[in-house]
Each structure stands twice: as C-alpha cells, then as structure tokens.
C-alpha cells in the first residue's frame, strides 16, 4: 500500500513537471501588453438546406473556409453531430430531415506557426494576429465539404456573407445562423 502511494506521488510529480508541448514557443511566452482580454474565436451555426426545403444530415460539415472582411480567418470542421439520434430519411446517397439542423463551428484564427529561430519569425508571429477590435464585420463562408452516406465527398462554394458585431473586451463573437442552400 505504501509503495503504491509513493509510486502515485512520484507519478504526480513527474506529470506536473512536464511542459505543455502542444504550445509553440511563441504561444507559451507571448504576453498581452495591456492585460486586456484577447479575441479568440467566432461561433457560427450553419444549416444546409436542400432544394426540396429539407435539411442535410451529416456527421460534420468539413473544411469550412471562413474569411472576415475578406481576410482569411481559418478552415475548420464543424462540431460532430450524433446522426443516430436524428429523425431522418435516406434519399439517394444522403440523409435528410424536415427539421432544421444546425452545425456548430467554433472558429479560432488560423495563424501559421513558423519555426521560431529568428527575430523575423517572432516578429511575423506577433504581427500575424488579425485583431478584431470592437465593431461590425462581414463573415464569408467561402467553401465547405460534406461526406455523403456512400462516402462520396462534395465541395460546395456558397460565398455566403453575414455580418456580426464584436463587443469591447470580449473573447468571442456569435456570428449567427447561416442557411446554406445546396442542390
């Protein structure tokens, strides 16, 4: 019993001493100058409407390419949906439903991570963050991909714009619900 306790204590010590390697040198050591809350993410709800006014059911909407004021923000997958719990019908190679189904996209800004060996690379990192100051912005969904029931993948280019507001000292903004029509 004593041995087990010692073992657990040593294990705990080792774990607590480990560095978080998932963070880059810049992410770990950069600090905000004015102590303000830095803007981190956009929250977007997307639903995909078919021509017969039903909604597409997929596990996730993938590779959603997002631009803010025509500035590349990120390319990201939506949160996954447990499709087994959705009332749906199979039509051709896709599942559809009469009920509106939203997919949640949590979009952090995609900043290219250089190697961080030179002053220029650190400077590039500090300048790369596109600060969303309080105000109105336009969000563009440029493209996305869906995987159908037969595992075929199709890319759509909706070029759907919506506007949203960033409040003072907030870490996220809700862009809203975007309805995308597909064939």
């Amino acid at each position: 019993m004593k041995r087990l306790i010692y073992f657990l204590l040593i294990e705990l010590f080792i774990v607590s001493c480990e560095k978080d390697d998932s963070l880059s040198s810049a992410d770990r050591n950069v600090v905000s100058e004015d102590g303000s809350i830095t803007f981190e993410e956009l929250l977007i709800l997307v639903n995909i409407k078919t021509t017969d006014s039903t909604y597409l059911i997929v596990e996730s909407v993938d590779s959603v390419s997002i631009y803010i004021n025509n500035y590349y923000w990120t390319k990201i997958n939506s949160q996954t949906l447990d499709t087994s719990k959705v009332d749906k019908q199979l039509v051709d190679n896709k599942y559809i439903t009469d009920n509106k189904t939203n997919y949640l996209i949590i979009a952090n800004q995609d900043i290219e991570q250089p190697d961080y060996n030179t002053a220029g690379e650190f400077a590039q990192y500090l300048n790369a963050a596109y600060e969303l100051k309080p105000g109105e912005y336009a969000c563009l969904i440029e493209s996305f991909q869906v995987t159908f029931n037969d595992n075929s993948i199709k890319t759509y280019y909706p070029f759907e714009y919506t506007t949203f507001k960033v409040e003072q000292n907030s870490r996220s903004a809700f862009v809203g619900e975007i309805e995308i029509k597909i064939d």
Partner: protein
C-alpha cells in the same frame, strides 16, 4: 624622498589609466514591423526603446562598468500588436578595448526565449 615616491605612484597610476581604452557599443533595430524595448548587452542597458530602423545612442563602456574585451548576448523585449515576448540573441557580441561596435539586429538574427 617621500615626494619622489608620491610622484612615481601618480605617474604609474596615470600610465595604467591611459593604457585602458574604453569601447563604444550601439544597437540598431532592423527587424520588420516591431519595436524592441529594454535592450541590454549582458547586464548593461543600451536603449529603452528602438523603433524599426532606429539606432541607439553610442554608449561608452568604461572599465568600471565592464572589463574589456568582453562578450555578451543582446536581450530585449519584442513588441507588436499589443503583445510582447522576451528574447535573447543566440550569438554573443564581442566588445574589445577601443572598439566601436554596431550590432544590427535583423529578421535573420538568431534568437530564442530562455524558457525554451
């Protein structure tokens, strides 16, 4: 006799003093789109803030501050976009007696955060 001794001591001290030549050091910030603050050579403060393209004033290092020749890294805080990071150059810069050293920090200068 005492006077001669005193003169000799003063002379030797004078000779020793005149043998030591201080060195001058300057740092130029040629890093794109960032300012660097609290620029130091080792523990010696070179500049409070340097904007891109700006060069610090010439700082004379006398023997009371640092015995030359001496070699140190340049450390500074890089700031842009309301964010800061502390960095040190990988390279040490050698300042010898009677030297006039201009250290130019560019985008290609090797740097690291000591935390790594």
């Amino acid at each position: 006799m005492k006077t001669i001794k005193l003169i000799l001591i003063v002379c030797i001290t004078g000779i020793l003093q005149s043998c030591y030549k201080p060195g001058d050091i300057q740092v130029q910030n040629n890093i794109t789109q960032v300012k660097i603050v609290d620029v130091k050579w080792g523990d010696i403060y070179i500049a409070t803030e340097l904007l891109p393209g700006e060069t610090s004033e010439k700082l004379t290092i006398d023997r009371y501050e640092e015995k030359l020749p001496s070699s140190h890294k340049i450390s500074f805080k890089m700031t842009a976009n309301n964010k800061s990071i502390y960095l040190e150059t990988e390279e040490e810069y050698l300042l010898g007696e009677d030297d006039d050293l201009l250290i130019v920090l560019t985008d290609d200068t090797g740097v690291k955060n000591p935390n790594e």
